[in-house]
């Protein structure tokens, strides 16, 4: 089985976000970047599937050279080779287009990624890739088993879970607990540098450019109103919060 795992490179989830150049540029200085946490789960499950039934795992990232530490970490975790599309991942459509182009050439059985990235959280790349390739896509997949040509999945839906089956090839957006998150071991880290990392040029142009960023408003103070004093709550909602 051939698996393509798409990973994003995102700021560590505890990072303090700031902007420069009159709030038009995201300030990367001093930030630590990691593999998107949901992508990490997809990668972990892909590596498990490979260990169970053989095959290959190729990791794909759309990003500039700065993302290579995250790519090599994915190789250390167990991917066999890597492709980096040398471009800023400016918007979901552009990223999906790059993934679809690589996927068309590679003839993959599974294209896995996180349900969303944790920077811009659009959560639509898997869907667009599926459309572009004309194959089904599912998200968020919490459980995945492969039986021959069939994928058996559990997916989170509003208020419950859905069990479903579909034939390969598929595009999947994944989330925990699809696999146990993997820490790269020493052997993996030392072999990562010998695994191929191919850099390819992007195709097509980005459709968007960022004109400005803004931070969410600071959290206001919280007023506690005793439960028996509903009257003053309604009053405050009318006069102060002006939501009624």
């Amino acid at each position: 089985m051939k698996i393509l795992v798409c990973i994003s490179s995102v700021p560590d989830t505890t990072s303090k976000i700031s902007f420069t150049d009159s709030e038009t540029v995201f300030n990367k200085a001093g930030l630590q970047f990691i593999i998107g946490p949901y992508d990490d789960y997809a990668l972990a499950r892909a590596v498990e599937l490979k260990e169970q039934s053989g095959g290959t795992v190729t990791v794909l990232n759309v990003g500039t050279v700065e993302t290579e530490p995250q790519i090599r970490k994915a190789l250390a975790i167990g991917a066999d080779d890597a492709i980096r599309v040398d471009a800023e991942p400016t918007d979901s459509y552009f990223v999906a287009e790059q993934i679809a182009n690589i996927a068309k050439e590679g003839n993959y059985d599974l294209i896995m990624m996180g349900r969303e990235t944790t920077d811009y959280n659009s959560g639509v790349v898997h869907g667009i890739v599926g459309e572009m390739l004309g194959i089904p896509s599912f998200s968020p997949v919490m459980e995945l088993n492969i039986d021959g040509n069939q994928a058996k999945m559990t997916r989170e839906i509003e208020g419950g879970k859905e069990k479903l089956e579909a034939s390969l090839p598929l595009v999947l957006g994944c989330q925990e607990p699809i696999a146990e998150w993997k820490i790269p071991n020493m052997r993996g880290i030392m072999t990562a540098r010998t695994k191929p990392l191919n850099v390819v040029a992007p195709s097509g142009d980005s459709l968007t450019s960022i004109s400005a960023y803004s931070m969410p408003p600071a959290k206001g103070a919280c007023k506690m109103i005793p439960a028996e004093d509903a009257g003053s709550l309604i009053n405050l909602l009318r006069t102060e919060a002006k939501v009624l």
């Binding site: 530490p69 090599r72 970490k73 820490i183 790269p184 071991n185 020493m186 030392m190 990562a192 540098r193």
Partner: protein
């Protein structure tokens, strides 16, 4: 770039009489991507497997929990970093294994189990084992399939390790050594499969070392010791009753055991130093975060100068200790490379390099463990009442830190060793202390040097301060040697004073060199906080050296000699005043803004 041979041109202890170029030292900012990934793996392991169950580890009823954590660490390869690849390890260089020790140093009882296994448990075989012994034991130890313990200390033989009473007697057929005796404070004792045991054959003067498998029989043990800290570390008294050890399990030669013990402890000391740095970083992270969250008088306590002082002081000492550890680690790596190029085997090159820097190893052990104790003590203080609660992290940090000043040679033993080794090397002609010491003795009798600083040299003023501190140490050590000659070893108080000066000099110089190198890489603006830390530390180092020097001089000099030496000390412990309060506030504010240690 300096070549390895150029870089390795400094020998152990020589820092006291020789200048080091900033370009020659390694700084942790230079760790490459692969090394950082290794550090991340160690951090992720602690975060997912160890930190969530610290209480369970400390209060476990059986050693199985800590043993199973060792299995998991083994699966990740964390137990084989220093074992050569041909024996199932990863053959990493010394500074990479230091980095592993630093990160895992924040794992409390688990750290102790891990470092005992990988260090004193495994390294004797790495360095002294013959081919059969290495093939047989190292793959099992580096994978964690077997766990190791080190049996040196006995009830009546602690710091005086060579006085152990455990006996090994060759059986009549010459096939076995029968070991009888009692060992104590044996880390990992309860679950170890292999014991490195030191015993005396017949009436030998020196110890001999044996590799003892648990299954050889004749091994019994007490329940785990009840301890002040590192409660989850399984520490036992172990009894050997006619334990039959095959003769081929003698490690190295007869009576070579004490040497093995000493050399292995060298590694243990520098590793303890860097592990203490890792533990200290954990403490200051907690303390900084708490200082932001805890509000009194309507504001975060981190906004109070008294708290800022503590946070900045912790960070400064940690940064300094770290600088010194990786500087020495690289010295060791460089010398290993040179010795291997000269034809020495891997293990002999490593042993020789570690022996060469034994003085630095002892310095780092003392400095690191005292920084950790300082951080733990002030960490409790930042937490205030919560610091005294067993529900907050400072309780464990405080209790666990204390042992570090005791094991791997007490800090007192190590202080004595620092001076003793320096003097021995001087007497052997390996380290020219006499020349510089005589020059200093002359200098204090002459008119002080008012020469202007060379402004073309980076950090000229700071370097001058350090040169002078070295002169102060040489002046006092030289005078004490002249005064007491062979009886100097009876003057432990003076030796402690001199050791304190040497430790501060090495630490402060390492930090200054790291700063200078960083300025070259990142520019002065970007490292202004590191500059603050170095300047603050220099002020403290000068004050400490002045104090220790004064104590020493007053302990043996009288009359004119006393006055001349005190004046000399005053001359050599001068430093331009600065506003340390503002510098510490800048350091603390930057940490509080990020809620953690940021250097």
């Amino acid at each position: 770039m300096a070549t390895i041979a150029e870089k390795a041109s400094i020998s152990g202890g020589e820092f006291l009489i020789k200048e080091t170029e900033a370009s020659q030292i390694f700084i942790p900012e230079e760790f490459n991507e692969e090394q950082q990934m290794i550090a991340d793996t160690c951090r992720d392991f602690l975060r997912t497997e160890v930190w969530p169950i610290l209480d369970e580890i400390d209060y476990a009823k059986s050693p199985e929990l800590i043993s199973s954590l060792m299995d998991k660490a083994g699966e990740l390869g964390l137990l084989g970093t220093a074992v050569p690849e041909e024996y199932g390890g990863f053959g990493m260089n010394f500074n990479t294994s230091m980095l592993v020790a630093e990160v895992l140093g924040n794992g409390h009882s688990f750290s102790v189990a891990q470092s005992a296994h990988t260090g004193i448990g495994t390294l004797p075989i790495v360095y002294y084992g013959n081919e059969e012994q290495k093939q047989k034991y190292l793959p099992k130890l580096s994978s964690g399939e077997w766990k190791a313990a080190y049996c040196l200390t006995e009830p009546d033989s602690g710091s005086d390790a060579n006085s152990g009473k455990t006996k090994a007697e060759l059986t009549a057929d010459g096939k076995f050594y029968k070991i009888n005796g009692q060992k104590m404070w044996i880390t990992n004792g309860g679950f170890a499969d292999l014991f490195i045991v030191f015993a005396k054959i017949d009436d030998d003067k020196n110890l001999t070392c044996f590799i003892v498998e648990k299954t050889f029989g004749g091994i019994t043990m007490n329940e785990p010791e009840k301890k002040m800290g590192i409660k989850g570390s399984d520490t036992r008294q172990i009894f050997f009753n006619d334990c039959m050890v095959p003769a081929e399990n003698m490690l190295s030669d007869r009576q070579n055991g004490f040497k093995i013990a000493v050399n292995i402890l060298n590694i243990g000391r520098i590793k303890l130093g860097i592990a203490a740095v890792g533990g200290s970083k954990g403490i200051v992270n907690h303390a900084t975060n708490y200082a932001n969250e805890r509000k009194q008088f309507g504001i975060s306590i981190g906004r109070f100068g008294a708290i800022k002082h503590k946070l900045a002081e912790m960070a400064t000492r940690i940064w300094v200790s770290e600088s010194a550890c990786y500087r020495a680690g690289q010295n060791i790596d460089d010398l290993i490379d040179v010795l291997k190029a000269e034809g020495l085997s891997d293990e002999n090159a490593k042993l020789k390099a570690l022996e060469q820097f034994a003085i630095e190893c002892a310095i780092l052990k003392v400095h690191g463990s005292e920084v950790l104790d300082y951080a733990a003590d002030e960490g409790v203080q930042v937490y205030g009442g919560m610091g005294f609660s067993a529900d907050a992290p400072m309780d464990r940090a405080y209790r666990d830190s204390r042992i570090n000043r005791i094991f791997e040679g007490t800090n007192e033993i190590n202080r004595l060793l620092i001076v003793d080794m320096m003097l021995k090397r001087a007497m052997k002609g390996e380290l020219d202390l006499m020349g510089p010491a005589t020059a200093v003795a002359k200098e204090i009798m002459s008119i002080p040097d008012f020469g202007a600083l060379d402004n073309d040299t980076a950090f000229a003023a700071e370097k001058k301060v350090l040169q002078n501190l070295k002169k102060a140490a040489l002046m006092i050590a030289g005078a004490a040697v002249q005064k007491f000659m062979m009886k100097l070893s009876h003057e432990q108080e003076i030796l402690m004073n001199v050791a304190d000066m040497i430790i501060e000099i090495y630490a402060a110089e390492s930090a200054l060199l790291r700063l200078e190198k960083l300025v070259g890489i990142r520019g002065k603006e970007a490292v202004s906080l590191q500059n603050d830390m170095v300047q603050v530390y220099l002020q403290e180092a000068v004050a400490k050296c002045n104090n220790a020097g004064r104590e020493a001089i007053m302990s043996f000099a009288e009359g004119d000699e006393l006055r001349v030496m005190l004046m000399g000390l005053k001359r050599f412990t001068k430093i331009e005043p600065m506003n340390t309060k503002d510098a510490r506030r800048r350091i603390a504010d930057a940490m509080l803004a990020e809620g953690k240690y940021i250097f």
